[in-house]
Amino acid sequence: MTNNLKLKAIGLSTVITDKLANHSIITVQDYLTLNFIELQRKTGLTYQKLSSISEDVNKFITPLGISFQGGITCGHITEFSGAPGLGKTQLCLQLAFSNALHGKVNGVLYIDSEGAFSASRLLDIAIHKYGIAIEQKIKSSLNRIHLWRPCSLKEIVDKLISIEVLVVKEHIGLLIIDSMGSIVRRDFGAEKNIERGAQMCSLSSSLKRIAHDFNLAVVVTNHVTAKVESSSTRIDCKSTSIPALGPSWSHWINSRLHLFMAQNKRRLMVSKSPEIPELIVDYCISKGGLDIQRETCSSSPY
């Protein structure tokens, strides 16, 4: 079990492992579950020293951290794509509350570009999914969720340093962008062009860096667009929904969870993930948010 792997076994120098052991950081799990701020506070090591130690640790094993049924990994960008009305915002709100309540690093930065953020829905989720009746607990969790409404993609790119400052000050462990589709298409429209690709690339690499440096989870929602499959007869033309923002964007995210409707049932498909095999689950949306029901056995999504 990699969790219990001792840091000594990885090959770090005894000086470092002794220093960490003095603060009860003995196994890999102990090390990886703390973020840099806490590590600095505990051990007094400088940031650079810690990054090189983390690099060694991470190179030895692949960092895990599946904290949600489905795979929201820290240090990665996970995307939820799907047609409107299927529950992407619900999933984001649920994740936000869950992290603010339970997360080891429990600040949440919610970047909302569609105006769909609803604090009353968060309250519903708190009461119905987590059964919290204590007002103080709800209030303190809500206080850890920070909402920012940028006007454009450029504003996000320009204010990346401010985002980092906020991540440090408010101990942000989860960054949600709802939705990437509308923010990019607002400035650039739905057709691809070079500048749009360049800005998306720059944003995704900055997000990955922040995700990696601060070990936070980045969740992004995306729209879908219709892809018409051409055929010889026009009657046979099939149009399917595919995630928007183009195939190159698909490369810049690490995992993708696709929400869709099949035979009047809502389904969630893990269509790209470095850790989890492809699986399809049914879900429904209740007062408490998204409830994942069962795995479907079919190999094809439809």
């Binding site: 600095q40 940031y47 569609e114 609803s118 604090a119 829905r121 920070h146 909402l147 509308s182 729209h223």
Partner: protein, 325 residues
Amino acid sequence: MSTSITNSRPICTYPIPVSIQSKLSKAGFLTTGSVVNLRPSELSSSAEISLEDAADVLDLVRKPNGLFLETKTALEILREEQGNCPIVTMSQNIDNLLNGGVPLSKVTEISGIAGVGKTQLCLQLCVTVQMPEECGGLKGHAVFIDTEGSFNASRLQDMSQACIKHCRNSMNLAAENWNFASITENIFVFRCKEVTELLSCVMILKEFLKTHDQVKLIVIDSLAFHFRHDMENAALRSRVLHKIAAELVRIAVELKLAVVVTNQMTTKFDSKGQGHLTPALGTSWGHAPTFRIILDWDPSRNFRWATLIKSSSLPPGSAPYQVRP
């Protein structure tokens, strides 16, 4: 963009603790300009201060120069939302479906086939938004952007009279100042005959709203009309739609008013070749409104109902309603 004056403002003028100040000056950071564009990790390693201290320093230095995120916590937003009063539609079933009525700060889309009553509902909302607060209204004004020429003043008169009567009966309101004349005065109608007029109208709304800050409702009836007839080029169409959608969302959220947009229906063919009706303007437009309602009716049984197909905070459902004078 910081000017050269603020860039050369010395670090010691900020309320940074002395121990950190000395570390910063030892590392050579003496002016604002030298730190303002550094990331917390960079400042932390260069000045040998902790990450948290570096973030504090950057926060203090960047805030006066406008380089910060204007965030709100979810708790603050909850308080705002609980204080927001939705606009009633005068149909209890639809109001229940929407948990009170058409919400403020959100974009709501109403779709339906021709003749189902979308314009009626929009006119109704223009009246109910003006109801005095004692009756559960917002005492707000309305903007009606008409693209089809469907704005009907005589129907408005019928509705206003019914509404005034309802208020007077239920609340014993004297309300000499709330009559048909005042209602019409507070509805601003813009007639857009082409796509370019619609686009420019939406873009100047913000300016207009600065001088008319009592407006609480903006109606566009209908958004689909010009796009389906005038614009052949799909790429241009989607770009313009996104621009309008972004502007509407921004106005709704910043000025805390309700935006209602009506849409037409189109036929979508699924894999089996069967067609069913869905709201027009495509899936990419479908992402923009937060609430989507479809109005439907069965003329043979004279039965009408409204279905909520998308919302960020309410369960989906259907509600029957009636069209009355």
